[in-house]
Amino acid sequence: MESKLMHLIVIVLGVIAIAQLVRVYELSAKLRKEGEHETNSRDNKLNARMMLVFMAFLFLGFIWLMLTYGWTGRGEAASVHGKELDWLLDLNFWIIIIVFFLTNTLLFSFAHKYIRKPGVKAFYFPHDNKLEMVWTVIPAIVLAVIIILGLRSWNKITDEPVKESIRIELFSKQFDWTARYSGEDNVLGKYDYKLTTDNNELALITTNTIDSAIAQMESGVSGIKTLESKLNDRKIMLVPEEREKMVVDLERKTRLLRLLYQMRGHHNPSVDASAWDDIIQKDTLFLCEGKEYEFNFRSKDVIHSAYFPHFRAQMNTVPGLPTRFKFTPDITTKDMRVKRNDDKFNYVLMCNKICGSAHYKMKMIVVVLSKGEYKKWMDGRQSTATFKHNYFPKAEEASSTTAGATGSDSTAVAVVDTLK
């Protein structure tokens, strides 16, 4: 408290002191018969010189930043289209840097050179059609080049992926990522958010998952039956708000249940297989060098954005709207570590759309493996860690599951270890 008071006193005294100084300055200005609206030539010249000083600060600051950090702080692009984009970015940067230097130089040097001088009148120059034509047409031409090159790359990047590209789903929620590989058939199993249960986090559609979602909705811990019995139980006293909340809850769940039954009615069990062989992967996303990937994005709650800075890739994940992006990683993590001279370096997938308090922590490490390593890792996962394996852990022989699981984990660990 006391220190705050002291601060306050110091501030007040400071303001008074400045006010006095200004007062003195004003008196002296009055003596010199110079008003605040007049700019004397000393001030004018000083400020004009400062314009050049400032220009130097701006330019040197820019050059210093360029030399220290460069415009590719993210390092070399690690994907095929990323290399093309970096070339395009370089080109665009050179264009705008030239414009930046040229126009700022003209601006500040004119502001310096043409300050008022006794006896020199300003040049009355209201317009000049030719000049104006020049600086309409030249930017238009340059922009046309930029547009054409930009759209050429854009079309290529957003074009349909090739048939054999590997399909992966990236599932986002507050605040982490889950990947789902399409498995042996390279088809991602279908999903419906209403099927989300503890052992089916990604809400994949199979006959079994539909049944268990219905069961949970009907008679789970906070299922419809429990709610109904609570509401009808005269022995339980409910605060009106709580009761109302439960009624709304019940209504919502009844509606969802109806939809689940509809889903079961229309379900075709032959598509189950495409879900059972999918592989769900957390923490680290393994990719294969030189293979094209088609990423399918999905969100459980709010908008997130799947941002891969090193692959120059980004796409929002939108609840209710599937989105896609494709790219081909072309430098393995190992090679990149050598190139960047940083043996702890890793590629990363980050969230780049504000999504809540831990937005800044929502990331997943990405590891690009060589073809051999990737195959080894993938084979391990396929034989032990598909959706089916995880969904029916007890259906298999206990011994083989544990052996398999450790087996697959140890391959992954081994791969990661070699990277360390």
Binding site: A48, L107, I115, F123, F125, L143
Partner: protein, 607 residues
Amino acid sequence: MAAVAHEAHGHHDSHGHHEAHGHHEETFVSKYIFSQDHKMIGKQFLMTAVFMGVVAMILSILFRIQLAWPGESSDFLSFFLGETWAPGGIMKEDMYLGLVTIHGTIMVFFLLTGGLSGTFSNLLIPLQIGARDMASGFLNMLSYWFFFLSSVIMLVSLFIETGPASAGWTIYPPLSALPQAIGGSGLGMTLWLLSMTIFVVSSLLGSLNYIVTVLNLRTKGMTMTRMPLTIWAFFVTAILGVLSFPVLVSAVVLLMMDRLAGTSFYLSDIIVGGEMLANHGGSPLLYEHLFWFLGHPEVYIVLLPALGLSSEIISTNSRKPIFGYRAMIGSILAIGFLSFIVWGHHMFVTGMNPFIGSVFVFTTLLIAIPSAVKVFNYITTLWKGSIVLTPAMMFAIGLVSTFITGGVTGIILADSALDISIHDTYFVVAHFHIVMGMSAVFGMFAGVYHWFPKMFGKMLNKRLGYVHFWITIFGAYGVFFPMHFVGLAGAPRRYYDYSAYGEFDTHSHELIMDLNIIITIFSIISALGQLVFLFNFFYSIFRGPKAPQNPWNANSLEWTTPVEHVHGNWPGEIPTVYRWPYDYSKPGAEHDFIPQNVPLAEGEEEH
């Protein structure tokens, strides 16, 4: 010399002005509070905006401290945020997002829309076109009070228990629709939506008034092509506001219904906080389209008035006509038109159809052409001028420099292919702060320095003005320029802490951490620099030297009104206009300026 010139050209008669005072019985309330006089309303807008600007600036210093020294305890933070939001002097994650959101909202809407356009459109439209007041003084007064009310609500939302809106100034749903997703989407968001709706009412009342006034109340001889560029800019800005702000209201209303009435405009297939929602079929993209349909014109609503003010100031203080007057008008109109068909450049990676994306690339890059024309015209206006570096002139020159610097990065962002990897990174933050946080703010400062004598009848201290300018331009460039590099290193915006980079990329981590400290230091310096301005501003209102009639030897009509404000602006007849406002250093003229109300001399040609 200046004094002589003003005698020669002063046109008011001092008797009339004393009489005018006698006619109006004014109480304190009708003069200072519920005033219907456009000059007073302009000042009210300015005062409110200055206050809001200071608040938003303090918020930014708070989160800059968090970014530079994450996890370190700070007395400054605990002083402003208290134990609730900064336990032990360390800011909470939710509060970080809340501060960023409210900072952005206040700066964009309250300082640079309400404040900039509200202040100067009100002050200058009647004075420069030769009208006694706005078309409707009453609606104008309402416009201010709605603005005031919405400001109060926005500020109140900072103090509620669940925290202010924290979904970013663009408040994309579902985050903004679901209190389960983030605390700020509870009462805080409701207040935000309420405040912004009232803000739009204010803006519409103001804009309609400006449009009607410009179209109908111009004095004799004030044709559209004799209007100062300030008026053209305010006029087009008002049209943009009228056409785009209602769309924001529709976006907000649909969001309110999703929040309160259980509709599904923006919501589909969501599980949040363990709760499975039944909403199905809505799309957040609908919101994004509606928001940016306002959002992009909004950035020009912010910038055009600043460009208008600086056109006037640069011409006056170069003692030269603005170069390419008609091209300048054409550019304003072109920018105004194009700004309605480029909104999709904010949505390249949202899941919008890539073909539509390419159309937006094309239209967006078109907008760079009129922008370039404006820059070249400013520079040519300086060429062979006789430049007087008043503080206003220096801020106007600063505006041109920052408009270049921020405009050229817009070209990179508008290239959808390149935007993929820099969208939502600090590169975007750098881009829009340089055009809004610097250019538009510089335009506003330039306007304050130039028209302060007209507003308060006093002069600002010019030395303090110089100091303010140099601290501000060095400081603000120091803040926003390095952000490009942070963005190019791959740093997403709206991150509470970048330490996580240390886990996978030491190079980027060091770059981001180092630059964040540099940026924060510059931001503290710039913020302290604003104290110089605040002191000068309030001190001069009360104790500044009295302003002369026409301090800058300018041509436009406002300088023919008496220094002491009178109702109806001119005590006698409204002056008639005979020429454009840019007859500076016209060959054959006696002085280096010829006010608009001076008839053409014999044999003199209009420009």
